[in-house]
Amino acid sequence: MSPVGPVIEATIRGKSYGARAVLENFKLTVAPGEIVALLGPSGCGKSTALRIVAGLDRDFDGEVRVLGQRVREPSSAVGVMFQEPRLLPWLSVARNVAFAVDGVEGAMPRVEALLEEVGLAGWGNALPRALSGGMEQRVALARALFREPAILLLDEPFGAVDALTRARLQSLLLRVTARHGTTVVLVTHDTREAVLLADRVVVMSAEAARRSVEIPVPLPRPRERLGAEPTVLETRLLDALGIAHTD
């Protein structure tokens, strides 16, 4: 643990939708600057856990602290990015990036710097419909970073783009978060993505009662996409998911 203490301390004793329990005794502690991946199959509650940490879901039993403060509502210290870009189609790219503030005028230098950073310099006046899926996700990333959040929560952010675009966006994410020292919690169902991005992987099971398993990823950065070590780690992740061996 880092000397300043964890930036996220989540204890979710229980969360259910109706009669179905999605999370039970789920604990997550994240140190500053750490990149943690929540890995698991659909329905394992990983997105729910992320929404609870984001302050978007308050209907659960437990406690979440972000930067030592108890989470009661979404905080400006937390940036969120979803699987879909969720750009507002009637706003220009620049206004989407500056969505946190009403009106883009005073924020223009910051917006331009962010667009430059995500490789979309000069696209500020475009409407979202002119963008490709990968470009839209870049805008969504810039928007998530707009308030300079200490923490970035990503819910399968690259799940809906093609493999090539995904690889580029993954590199972009690592570059940008490393530069800003942003702590990242990333929900994914892609073992390759988890090994590539995360310092630590929390493997969640489809059964709420089963405890999650934490697997560190002690690989140096920048990481290779191929090679023996990533493959070994991926096998460990698949094993933890219970799908390493096919019969």
Partner: protein
């Protein structure tokens, strides 16, 4: 690093926008004109030849010259101004009320539960049933006509705004919540703009209903207006005046809808919907 040139855009636009449309645009306008033109010419010939009695169906040229006389004498413009003012006032009142009520019931389930059944019941009343009551209450001046038009315009706008708000993507609302926006900001910055397409559909319906209600009101009790012109033509046995008034109504209806359509196209430029006539330069 990805390179962003104009390539992805030009690729999406395609080299030839016409290749995307099933109907060739330039041809469709003349094609639509041939049929009415042929009917008009046939009528003209039939009336002149004496096959159709001219006092029942005057020749198109007679209608045109009547229209010209009405315009030259200034009477036409008085009628148009009277009707136009009633439409504008009634439509504006009805539309604003519809937006307010639609937003209120769209945003709050409790308000919907309390008021929507009443509105639905009122909506079911045929508009003309209001006329005797409005005349009793408000006399035969401008007020009953404007109120009738407002009633006509209210319900389509109310329904479209309400359903527009209800159909906004829940994910956009969640995004706004993640950015810490409160209820009023979400309504103003997400729900309202997102329901604009639906609002415009309702406004255009409301406008065409407004014209219908205007004529109904003017047919019954008026001394000016295009509806009055219709009554006057019938009472004096002037089929040419009646037809001239109908032509004026058609032109004004089309014109006012065109204005609304233009405003809609401007306000909804951001939409990424299917448009068979979309040309290049629409994007970005």
């Amino acid at each position: 690093m990805q390179h962003f040139t104009a390539r992805p855009l030009t690729h999406e636009l395609g080299e030839d926008p016409a290749a995307w449309t099933t109907e060739p645009q330039r041809v469709s306008v003349p094609v639509g004109v041939w049929f009415p033109l042929a009917v008009v010419l046939l009528l003209e010939a039939a009336v002149r030849a004496g096959w159709i009695p001219a006092h029942l169906l005057p020749a198109p040229t007679t209608v045109l010259s009547t229209l010209y006389d009405l315009a030259a004498s200034g009477a036409l413009w008085q009628h148009v101004a009277a009707s136009g003012t009633r439409i504008a006032t009634g439509f504006a009142i009805g539309a604003v009320a519809g937006v307010v009520l639609g937003l209120a019931t769209g945003l709050r389930r409790s308000l919907e539960a309390a008021f929507d059944p009443t509105f639905q019941a009122l909506r079911a009343i045929p508009s003309l049933a209001w006329v005797p009551l409005l005349l009793l209450w408000l006399g035969i001046d401008e007020a009953p006509k404007i109120v009738l038009i407002a009633i006509g315009a209210l319900f389509p706008v109310y329904l479209s705004v309400q359903s527009g708000v209800r159909n906004v993507d829940r994910k956009l609302v969640e995004l706004a919540q993640a950015f810490g926006l409160g209820q009023p900001a979400i309504a103003w910055r997400v729900l309202l703009p997102a329901s604009l397409p639906s609002l415009f559909t309702g406004l255009r319906q409301a406008l065409s209903l407004s014209w219908m209600f205007l004529v109904a009101a003017e047919l019954i009790a008026a001394t000016r207006g295009i509806g009055y012109l219709l009554t006057d033509g019938r009472e004096t046995g002037r089929a040419d005046v009646v037809l001239a008034a109908i032509v004026v109504l058609a032109v004004l209806g089309k014109l006012s809808d065109g204005v609304l359509k233009f405003v809609e196209a401007r306000a909804l430029r951001w939409r990424d919907a299917f448009d068979p006539g979309a040309g290049s330069g629409q994007r970005t």
